[in-house]
């Protein structure tokens, strides 16, 4: 499927009031521990097979009280964070899988457990080895590792709801219209239009994820530069395209590897030469 037709979510932080309705809706729809409805595998047509849940193991209890500062974990596939630097006029930041168009997690996964359906990045939990390379390689830190089940979990854009013609749970409850859902081309157009409106009123406006290169299917609009909000990767962290890997391997790793090997050889050869010269000096009879 063309990236323009991917399912996409818009998050406009200039409209977000930090009410956490989306976080609650996500938890309610996806189960107390964020996994009850998470599918083990989704077909190419977007149909979910059996779910991972129920997630509470025998004798295990859920969180006694909601954590005061939720973070992405087995209980929260998405969170809204007020950024500490902007306490006076809170800037809220949605943290969840950004559903990268060219996802690094997919290319680093050794078991090919990560795959895309209509632009939604999903994990096949029947294949996942639990090595957490995807957790380490995610530039947005959007994956949490569920220790008890040995799998990394994240937002799956409520594909079951989309299949029923509904918007993802978080989008459906947003009271201010800070969240929107649609095809990527429409969402990108909306984001750019919104940024234009903000600029027309004399405000700064920034859009994240709308590019063709390193684009995401969750698009952000902000009136604060993304590097100030935090949680967004630096530009050099957004480079995991599969075609770049062989080049990187040769250029970076390869050079260092063979440079190291050459150094070792050189060291040994010099040492051996010194030894031979020493032995020859000893052999010369003293006059």
């Amino acid at each position: 499927m063309e990236a323009d037709q991917h399912y996409s979510i818009l998050f406009d932080n200039t409209k977000c009031i930090g009410c956490n309705s989306c976080v609650v809706a996500c938890r309610l729809w996806n189960g107390r521990e964020g996994l009850a409805k998470l599918p083990v595998r989704v077909s190419a047509r977007g149909e979910a097979s059996e779910t991972v849940g129920p997630v509470l193991l025998e004798g295990e209890v859920g969180p006694k009280s909601p954590p005061s500062a939720p973070k992405i974990d087995k209980h929260h596939l998405m969170v809204i964070e007020p950024h500490p630097e902007f306490k006076g006029c809170a800037v809220f930041q949605r943290r969840s899988c950004m559903h990268c168009v060219d996802p690094p997690c997919m290319y680093v996964c050794p078991t090919r457990a990560i795959y895309q359906v209509n632009g939604v990045n999903l994990t096949d939990f029947t294949k996942c080895f639990g090595c957490q390379y995807c957790v380490v390689a995610c530039p947005y830190r959007a994956r949490a590792f569920y220790e008890e089940k040995g799998i990394p979990i994240k937002c799956w854009m409520c594909l079951d709801r989309i299949g029923q013609g509904l918007a993802p749970a978080c989008v459906s409850v947003c009271p201010t219209g800070a969240l929107d859902f649609g095809r990527r081309a429409d969402i990108v157009a909306k984001a750019r239009k919104r940024a234009g409106e903000l600029r027309a009123t004399g405000k700064e406006a920034y859009v994240w994820g709308d590019g063709e290169k390193h684009g995401t299917n969750v698009i952000f609009v902000s009136d604060v530069p993304f590097e100030k909000i935090g949680g967004f990767p630096e530009p050099e962290m957004l480079v995991t395209a599969p075609e770049a890997l062989p080049e990187l391997l040769v250029q970076r790793g390869g050079l260092a590897l063979f440079g190291g090997a050459a150094l070792i050889f050189l060291g040994f050869i010099l040492w051996r030469r010194a030894r031979i010269v020493k032995a020859k000096i000893k052999e010369v009879p003293r006059r």
């Binding site: 050794p110 080895f129 090595c131 830190r141 590897l257 060291g267 040994f268």
Partner: protein, 317 residues
């Protein structure tokens, strides 16, 4: 503090140990291959220990990777994705184990003479040389992989440098030299004949000098790595480097790696290389060599953990 860090880090102590043993495993075969190329059959014990330690360490690398995994029973899926560095690593581990096992059959221990009768090909040198060349390449791949896997994860700017591969590679060879040195020094203590004692002292001396050079290179690379990261344009990389050099990880990095794992053994090795074979020191050669080896091994493991933790610390915070 460290317990907390290791619990919260996606890649913690298990991965640090896997990288440590991976480096040592690859390094052991490199040491065996280079020793054979330079000294022929003179120091056969080094080749033997290179093969045995290489096999053991590579197996431990695989075991620690599996211990870290949430679903180790899905091990076979690990070979599925050629663009993943873990797939590359899994292939290297398997190849090194397979070829290393064949190589080890050329070098049965003298203490098991009956084994030699089961391995009649062990007397042939040329086929063994072929496996040595192959293992030099595969061992370099395995030791290098321990750096690649971090350098190519791309999301941690602190790891994104060829210096990390150079550091892990040199440390892998250095720990391998000292693991072999530890065994040779231990065997030196039980030698009865004067001739065999002399031979073991000579082997210790070679390993001692070689590791002295490796530690010097490792020290240089480590300092260059920290310096470049402290001045990196990336904010995240600088935060990691500061945590490593001046922050929470500083006592472990400077105390555990630089002082205990580099400076102390380097001083000991220089002393032994200089005075070790004199009458006054000859008795102390083996015990001091063992001490230096233990320091290098501990330092190598600590270094892996420090680099892993520093890369992930700004994220955990």
């Amino acid at each position: 503090m460290l317990e907390l860090i290791s619990k919260e880090l996606p890649w913690g102590i298990h991965i640090a140990l896997a990288l440590f043993f991976g480096g040592m495993g690859g390094g052991s075969f490199i040491v065996a291959a280079v020793t054979s190329a330079i000294s022929g059959e003179e120091f056969r014990e080094i080749l033997k220990f290179g093969a045995y330690i290489g096999l053991l360490a590579t197996a431990l690398c695989g075991i620690f990777l599996s211990l870290h995994a949430g679903h180790p029973e899905r091990l076979l899926y690990m070979y599925s994705n050629p663009t993943s560095m873990i797939t590359f690593g899994a292939t290297m581990i398997t190849s090194v184990l397979f070829v290393g096992l064949i190589y080890a059959t050329f070098l049965p221990p003298d203490s098991l003479p009956w084994l030699k009768s089961f391995l009649p090909w062990s007397v042939y040198v040329k086929p063994r040389k072929f496996f040595e060349l192959l293992l030099f390449i595969l061992g370099s791949g395995l030791a290098g992989y321990t750096g690649f896997v971090l350098a190519l994860s791309r999301a941690e700017p602190f790891w994104e440098t060829p210096l990390i591969t150079a550091l892990f590679y040199t440390s892998g060879v250095s720990t391998a030299l000292m693991a072999i040195g530890l065994c040779i020094a231990a065997l030196r203590l039980v030698q009865v004949t004067e001739e065999s004692r002399k031979l073991f002292v000579e082997m210790m001396h070679r390993l001692d000098v070689a590791d002295g050079y490796m530690l010097l290179i490792e020290f240089g690379v480590a300092m260059l790595y920290v310096y470049t990261m402290l001045n990196d344009p990336s904010k995240v990389a600088r935060a990691s480097a500061e945590a490593l050099a001046f922050g929470e990880l500083a006592p472990l990095f400077w105390g555990g790696f630089v002082f205990l794992g580099l400076i102390i053994p380097l001083l000991l090795l220089v002393l032994l290389a200089w005075k070790g074979r004199t009458a006054a020191f000859i008795r102390l050669y083996a015990p001091l060599m063992m001490l230096a080896a233990l320091c290098v091994l501990a330092g190598g493991a600590v270094m892996r953990f420090c680099i892993l933790a520093a890369g992930q610390l700004p994220v955990v915070k």
